[in-house]
């Protein structure tokens, strides 16, 4: 076998062909399952898309590198179920481009964070983590009180729609309007957000001030949506628990 390799190394075109064959196997193993992903990962009926405001928060989450310390995947381990809740399902991140499962935790997993703490806590914690959790080593993000840029939201939604996230024309056209309305529960547009994205969407002044739309509003809206897009995990894992 080694002699074969020895001879192959001396045939430059033969070696090129052999490298292509070997690399293709690796490629096929990774790529082939994606051709049937629609059949292997079924989207739950109650699954909703992120709202434009949550999406803007997700972009801030990416910008600040939060994923470097916080995973978004409860793994298939008993103690993870015990601490975080039902393990994560593939369909829960079907609309995430890119997914943010992560592979390293410095802080806790946040896949089931939505609803666990109040908006006030998130705001206080993001501005100065030590103010609420004295032992925290998380960096402070005081600049999140800056106004949120909502101009690119429509194009972001349109891009995600091309990747298969079911954003309708109305959602894309109304993205900036909906982002503003989601942080203003008393505004006329608030009903539009609920109508487009479902009654389960949180419509609140996330940073406590309905008069200003800030990056804090967006990030807190995103954090409060984590794990709430579908009840599929709770149902699936609940069924297994009942067995």
């Amino acid at each position: 076998m080694l002699r074969l390799h020895y001879n192959l190394e001396k045939l430059s075109m033969g070696l090129v062909a052999a490298i292509i064959v070997a690399a293709s196997i690796g490629g096929i193993v990774e790529i082939a399952p994606l051709f049937t992903i629609d059949k292997t990962v079924t989207i739950p009926d109650d699954m909703r898309q992120h709202t434009p405001l949550e999406l803007a928060g997700r972009e801030i989450f990416l910008r600040e590198g939060c994923y470097a310390c916080h995973s978004q995947m409860v793994r298939h381990l008993a103690d993870e179920i015990d601490r975080y809740g039902p393990y994560s399902l593939a369909e829960e991140s079907a609309y995430d481009h890119p997914m943010l499962w992560g592979s390293k935790r410095t802080g806790p997993d946040i896949a089931r964070l939505g609803g666990k703490y109040s908006d006030d806590w998130h705001v206080a914690h993001l501005i100065d983590p030590r103010a609420v959790v004295p032992a925290s080593i998380m960096p402070a993000y005081p600049w999140l009180t800056a106004p949120l840029d909502i101009e690119t939201l429509s194009t972001q939604l349109a891009t995600l729609a091309r990747l298969g996230v079911p954003y309708t024309e109305a959602m894309i056209a109304g993205a900036a309007h909906d982002a503003l309305a989601q942080s203003r529960p008393d505004s006329d547009g608030a009903a539009d957000v609920a109508a487009r994205y479902g009654e389960g969407v949180a419509i609140r002044a996330f940073d406590g001030d309905p008069a200003r739309l800030t990056e804090m509003d967006a990030l807190v809206a995103y954090l409060q949506s984590l794990g709430t897009l579908t009840a599929a995990a709770r149902e699936t894992v609940g069924q297994e628990m009942a067995k």
């Binding site: 080694l2 082939a32 399952p33 049937t36 059949k39 292997t40 793994r75 298939h76 381990l77 008993a78 103690d79 993870e80 179920i81 015990d82 601490r83 809740g85 393990y87 609803g115 666990k116 703490y117 109040s118 908006d119 006030d120 806590w121 206080a124 914690h125 103010a131 609420v132 959790v133 004295p134 032992a135 949180a202 709770r234 699936t236 894992v237 297994e240 628990m241 067995k243």
Partner: protein, 296 residues
């Protein structure tokens, strides 16, 4: 660089290895054989992967995948593991499910076993807002001072835990301090006057004839009680003491009056089991009892 046209195995006299046959200005390269141990390790790894393909879930097949002879499923294994964990805890956790708090707290040996777990649950779920020792912080109530918004019995605390305050749960407790300033319910001079009255109430030096007292009676007493004594079961805090959630400075009180407060306690019904909630309720009630005598 020259290259030997016809390579014949040429043995290096010093090491006994073959050379590659290349000759770079008189320098030749040894063709050192691959270490045996690496070859064996590769062979072992490949053999194991073949065995693993047969025994474990491995190959995707369109809608399905090869299940493997062992029939293992990570999800099921995790749930099995969780059930084993739950079974180990059952003998001391299950009694908490029915919530007969008097009987539970009377059972000394049960409490001795359950309280360390309650401290762990508190640290995982409650400490982020209320602090590791339950001392709270600005905006987050102190649970250890014996001052309660809704009541400090385990029954009441358990309900607060289950449904939350101003939470998204349909049965949530609701309590709101209106934004008297922002919403134009009181003119600025009245707000200042009532803030001074509240400060006086807290210090026990309230003047019933001051303008602030009249404004208080008309606007605040409905929730906070005559004289700010609270206790009306609607989550309005006692003002006639020195305990504050959002701070007791004149500035903090003015901010509260101007912008209102609507603190949120999340609902835990979907996150924690009934037994865990009752266990935590007893733990928190005890936190309050510990300091209540000294404080009030």
């Amino acid at each position: 660089m020259s290259r030997s046209s016809e390579h014949e195995a040429e043995i290096d006299p010093v090491t006994g290895y073959e050379t590659t046959g290349h000759d770079w200005n008189g320098i030749r390269e040894l063709n050192t054989p691959f270490p045996r141990i690496v070859i064996w390790a590769l062979a072992l790894a490949f053999s194991y992967s073949v065995i693993a393909w047969v025994l474990l879930p491995a190959w995707p097949l369109g809608r399905d995948y090869t299940r493997g002879l062992l029939g293992l499923d990570q999800g099921e294994m995790a749930v099995e593991g969780y059930k084993r964990l739950a079974a180990v805890r059952a003998d001391w956790l299950e009694p908490f499910a029915d919530g007969d708090f008097a009987a539970l707290s009377g059972d000394g040996s049960l409490m001795a076993r359950a309280m360390p777990a309650a401290a762990r649950l508190f640290a995982d779920n409650c400490a982020a807002c209320h602090g590791a020792a339950g001392k709270g912080g600005p905006g987050f109530p102190d649970l250890s001072d014996g001052a309660w918004l809704w009541g400090g019995t385990p029954e009441i605390i358990a309900e607060t835990l289950r449904f939350g305050i101003n939470s998204t749960h349909p049965d949530t407790r609701i309590s709101q301090m209106p934004a008297f300033g922002r919403d134009g319910m009181l003119p600025p001079e009245d707000i200042t006057a009532v803030a001074d009255h509240v400060l006086a109430l807290s210090a026990g030096k309230a003047d019933a004839d001051s303008p602030g007292a009249t404004i208080f009676a008309d606007n605040c007493a409905a929730c906070h009680g005559e004289g700010g004594t609270g206790g009306l079961g609607i989550g309005a805090p006692v003002l006639a003491d020195d305990r504050w959630i959002y701070g007791g400075s004149r500035d903090a009180i003015l901010t509260t009056l101007k912008r209102g407060r609507q603190g949120v306690m999340p609902a835990w019904e979907d996150r924690l089991s009934a037994a865990e909630i009752n266990l935590l309720a007893l733990y928190v009630a005890r936190l309050g009892e510990r300091d209540a005598g000294a404080g009030q």
